[in-house]
């Protein structure tokens, strides 16, 4: 059984061409390897600008990978023909971050939901189409009566429901969700998350869920990968990651999650100000300039994501030993 999504040693570098002088290069993804297992939700967590969205874009074929292997539904997307890619669209769909900008303002709900069907030539019979749209809308908690309305007449949460319905119209097996709730109010976030969870269960979707919010990731994800500056620094089953974080960056992120429970608040957060250690900028570990556990050994050890517990990989050359010891002491 091939995994729905398999990414190996993916690099992505943006090049800005200049009229004079050298072209400016910016590496956004560095040696990223990920596997999304069948019927699983893989969370991709990291701060803004760490390359999460770029990863989605590469996976969806919006951007081309600089090097590395990206397989979706068992097919290497770099070698797919146009029609091959079109077929893949039916298997892999996406929900975008901002429901205010991802719906064409000049199309009503009927047109928006019909578009994927028209493109792929599905449900051509008017009666079947009508029933299909009604069912689709009901499945995301909207009603058939809203078919003739335009996006601007809906709230953010409702718009995101339309976006989800649009993605589901093609009955995909893989859903890429690029921060689907971060543009929404907290109260609405919960509704959309519940909806996604429901749909995932009902349709047995495999989902790549991108977020910067650990609380959201914990609610929905089976596995979580933590990303920092274009690299995966830690990867583990969700509960493992929350109870036993290995990488200093993960620890810092978890400590930064606001908690109502005072006893759970950490006193230190593992991360220091970015300006603290600018001298460590050239080190192999991208987190070194902000890391409070950084040691001389970090400057020499090459960056490597290794398995420290079963299914739990971490890319810190200091932390695993420290935690493993403290764990054995408990």
């Amino acid at each position: 059984m091939t995994a729905p999504v398999e990414i190996k040693h993916l690099f992505k570098t943006y090049t800005r061409r200049r009229w004079f002088g050298k072209n400016a290069e910016k590496a956004v993804l560095k040696d990223v390897s990920l596997t999304l297992a069948e019927d699983h939700v893989l969370g991709l967590v990291g701060e803004s600008g760490c390359g999460k969205s770029t990863l989605c874009k590469v996976l969806l074929g919006i951007e081309k990978a600089t090097s590395g292997l990206v397989k979706a539904d068992g097919k290497d997307i770099a070698f797919l023909s146009k029609s091959g890619f079109k077929k893949l669209r039916r298997v892999m769909q996406v929900v975008y971050q901002d429901p205010y900008s991802s719906l064409d303002p000049r199309m009503n709900v009927r047109q928006l939901l019909s578009e994927p069907l028209d493109i792929h030539g599905l449900e051509k019979d008017p009666a079947a189409r009508k029933a299909f749209l009604a069912e689709l809308l009901a499945s995301v908690g909207l009603s058939e009566t809203q078919l003739e309305r335009y996006p601007h007449e809906f709230s953010g949460g409702q718009r995101q429901r339309i976006c989800i319905a649009r993605a589901l119209a093609l009955d995909p097996k893989i859903l890429v969700a690029d921060e689907p709730v971060s543009a929404l109010d907290v109260s609405v976030q919960a509704q959309i998350l519940n909806l996604l969870k429901e749909i995932k269960k009902a349709r047995r979707l495999s989902m790549l869920f991108v977020t910067h919010d650990f609380a959201v990731a914990r609610f929905l994800c089976d596995d979580i990968a933590v990303m920092y500056q274009g690299r995966i620094v830690e990867r583990a089953p969700a509960e493992d990651l929350f109870t036993n974080p290995q990488h200093p960056y993960t620890e810092a992120l978890l400590a930064a999650v606001p908690s109502a429970d005072a006893s759970r608040r950490a006193d230190g957060n593992g991360a220091e100000e970015a300006s603290e250690h600018p001298d460590r900028a050239g080190w192999p570990c991208p987190f070194a300039p902000r890391c409070r556990y950084a040691q001389a050994v970090c400057a020499k050890t090459p960056f490597e994501l290794k398995e420290v517990f079963p299914r739990h990989a971490c890319a810190c050359c200091v932390m695993p030993f420290k935690t493993a010891k403290s764990k054995s002491a408990v």
Binding site: Q93, S101, P105, R106, E115, H120, R166
Partner: protein, 291 residues
């Protein structure tokens, strides 16, 4: 898009209703010109009938309702047939300027890079010259004639559309819904026709509707300067040009020959005003957020 909602909006907004009424009124005049002012010269309906060769204009009378201008050209005939000419000039020039602008701006935005740079710098050069001066130069080079004047006007009007279309396409191209359409499997032509153009063309349509009035105004200026319609043509600018010697009246009576400018001047004023009001209405109507 075309449904009752649009007309409802025009009716509820008083200024846009005024614009619509003015333009509809002019349109009727243009349409019924042969009925309102029977053609005198079958070869050229735009040739003004001349009652005699006397120089001094004559005030309105039962015979010529708006009076006559220098050399006894009939002002009523001029205003009526001038309306038809104004529509002809305004619509043709705006249409072609819009088309050229759409093509240039669309090409620049679609291909980007060096093509974009070249086309846009060319546009900037045309922009950098005052439009009336440039139109005068082109019209003077081609020779005074209505057709040449329209070419000159088109040549100065297209850059604003090119710039507008290019900018709008570039910004719409980046929108999430365009990416979303692509990830649904939509190919280039569908994305361009269904998503990019409908969302980027309307600002230009609004500008075009405002431009029709402006083009007629510039055409009148060119005619006034002797670079457009020839003397004796039923053209509003030409009618004012023929009133040049009479605008100031006689010593002690500054408004002695008021009728030589009031009719054609009023026509130009109302025509431009009408398009401006209607342009505002178009802007509101074409915005999908205003239901």
């Amino acid at each position: 898009m075309l449904n009752g909602r649009i007309f409802k909006r025009i009716y509820t907004n008083k200024t846009s209703l005024a614009g619509l009424v003015i333009i509809a009124f002019f349109f009727l005049i243009a349409l019924l010109a042969p009925v309102l002012a029977p053609v005198q010269n079958a070869n050229n309906p735009y040739q003004l009938p001349q009652k005699s060769y006397q120089i001094t204009p004559r005030p309105p009378s039962a015979e010529s309702w708006f009076g006559t201008t220098e050399q006894q050209y009939d002002l009523y005939y001029g205003v009526v047939w001038g309306t038809r000419l104004a529509f002809k000039i305004g619509l043709t020039v705006t249409f072609f300027a819009f088309l050229i602008g759409l093509f240039v701006g669309g090409t620049a935005a679609y291909f980007g890079g060096k093509v974009d740079e070249t086309l846009m710098r060319l546009t900037d050069i045309v922009f950098a010259v005052p439009s009336l001066v440039l139109a005068m130069v082109i019209a003077a080079m081609l020779g005074p004639d209505i057709k040449n004047m329209m070419i000159a006007l088109t040549a100065v009007a297209w850059p604003s559309y090119a710039r507008l279309v290019r900018g709008d396409i570039l910004s719409v191209k980046q929108r999430d819904y365009v990416t979303a359409a692509r990830t649904l499997g939509a190919r280039g032509p569908r994305v361009l026709l269904r998503h990019i153009l409908p969302n980027s063309i309307y600002p230009s349509v609004v500008v075009a509707s405002l431009d029709i009035g402006y083009v007629v105004l510039t055409a009148a200026s060119l005619s006034f300067l002797g670079l457009g319609a020839q003397p004796g043509t039923a053209d509003w600018g030409q009618l004012i040009a023929m009133a040049r010697n009479w605008v100031l009246g006689t010593p002690g009576h500054p408004f002695a020959y008021w009728y030589t400018v009031v009719a054609p001047g009023g026509a130009i004023f109302l025509f431009v005003l009408g398009w401006n009001l209607l342009g505002d209405a178009f802007r509101d109507i074409l915005d999908p957020r205003q239901a």
